[in-house]
Amino acid sequence: MVRNYLKSSAACGAALLFFLPAILGQTANPSKAATAPDLTGVWMIDQFHPALFPKGITPPFTPWGEAQFKKADTLVNDPNLACLPHGIPRLMFVPLPMQIFQVPDMVLIYEEAGNQLRQIHLNRDHRKDLDPTYNGDSVGKWEGETLVVDTIGFNDVTWLDHVGLPHSDALHVVERIHRADHNTLVDDFTIEDSKAYTKPWTASQTYHLKPGWEIAEYVCDNNKYVYHEK
């Protein structure tokens, strides 16, 4: 009996030691879930993939989507030529670094591209009747080690990739962002837009941690490229 008691206290003690960091963590920073994984740091894409669909593979376009894609010309009507925001998901494919911050109720992604700050709201649902915006309305939740980000509320101005893959204001992007290891971050995208595509499809981007890097100022003050769309 005594022996069993000792055994179970030892087990309790071991359990307490095991959970102590989590408990202390919660006490020290009550605004941040004790179990929230750490994604903070400066990250840079590992490979630049201008086109989400390789040559020879046709995206599942609707007729409208295909017509939009045919109008796209990287040297004429890429919204980025006017230094407009990239929109989501393209912002996450830009070959410039991003810094991830975790603050109470939000994950913030500070992109060197245009010095845009992407807000991912952790403890709310999408607002009702969203104004269409370049980067949409992003809400996130943790599923284990993965930050799941749901974004809607887009305008139809941006491209999904660097070669003109189109979308409409019905775009819905789900991202699963997780650390594959200490130095590697992966963002898996599911892209859904019933006006432009006949079915949802997926893409993925890997990033490497860049210790010592700082995000630089990026203002298009000498843009020699003109946006001729209108």
Partner: protein, 157 residues
């Protein structure tokens, strides 16, 4: 010198991993490209020419050949979304020719040791890069060589 508007005839096509189609167009082309390409493969293909230009695609440049142009710097624009070097050079017939070299954005350049005074007006340099497909005297810079023989890459990775 201002860049004229872009000729909208090319879709984005050649990127690092797809450079197997490259060929040399004679004349100014140098075969350091082959060395660089093989080196990149050997190094795990981390050298990504396509990644240089964050702001717009490389579609307007002939990514299959590197052209060296020797001249004197007239201006260095240290600016976003791209930095630009302007040099006064000579063409095949000895006539004056003004060249413009386009670089990456300032943040990425700073990470590969470029500074706002890396090149200065009056410097004698050679610029190496991928020239515009439409024949303008414009290139996407790969590297510069200084009068003392030192070189500095403009590749960001």
């Amino acid at each position: 010198m201002e860049l004229t508007p872009i000729n909208p005839e090319h879709m984005f096509s050649l990127h690092g991993p797809e450079m197997k189609n490259y060929s040399f167009s004679g004349g100014f082309a140098v075969n350091t490209r082959r060395f660089l390409f093989v080196f990149a493969l050997a190094a795990g293909a981390i050298l990504l020419p396509g990644a240089l230009l964050a702001h717009h695609s490389t579609a307007e440049y002939d990514m299959t050949a590197v052209t060296p142009i020797k001249g004197t710097v007239t201006k260095f624009e240290w600016s976003n979304p791209h930095a630009y070097i302007y040099i006064e050079a000579k063409d095949d017939k000895g006539n004056a020719a003004e060249w413009t070299a386009e670089l990456a954005s300032l943040g990425m350049l700073a990470r590969v040791n470029w500074k706002r005074d890396t090149v200065k007006p009056g410097d004698a340099i050679t610029i190496y890069g991928n020239r515009a497909k439409d024949g303008r005297t414009v290139m996407r810079l790969e590297k510069v060589a200084f009068a003392n023989g030192q070189e500095l890459s403009a590749q960001v990775r």
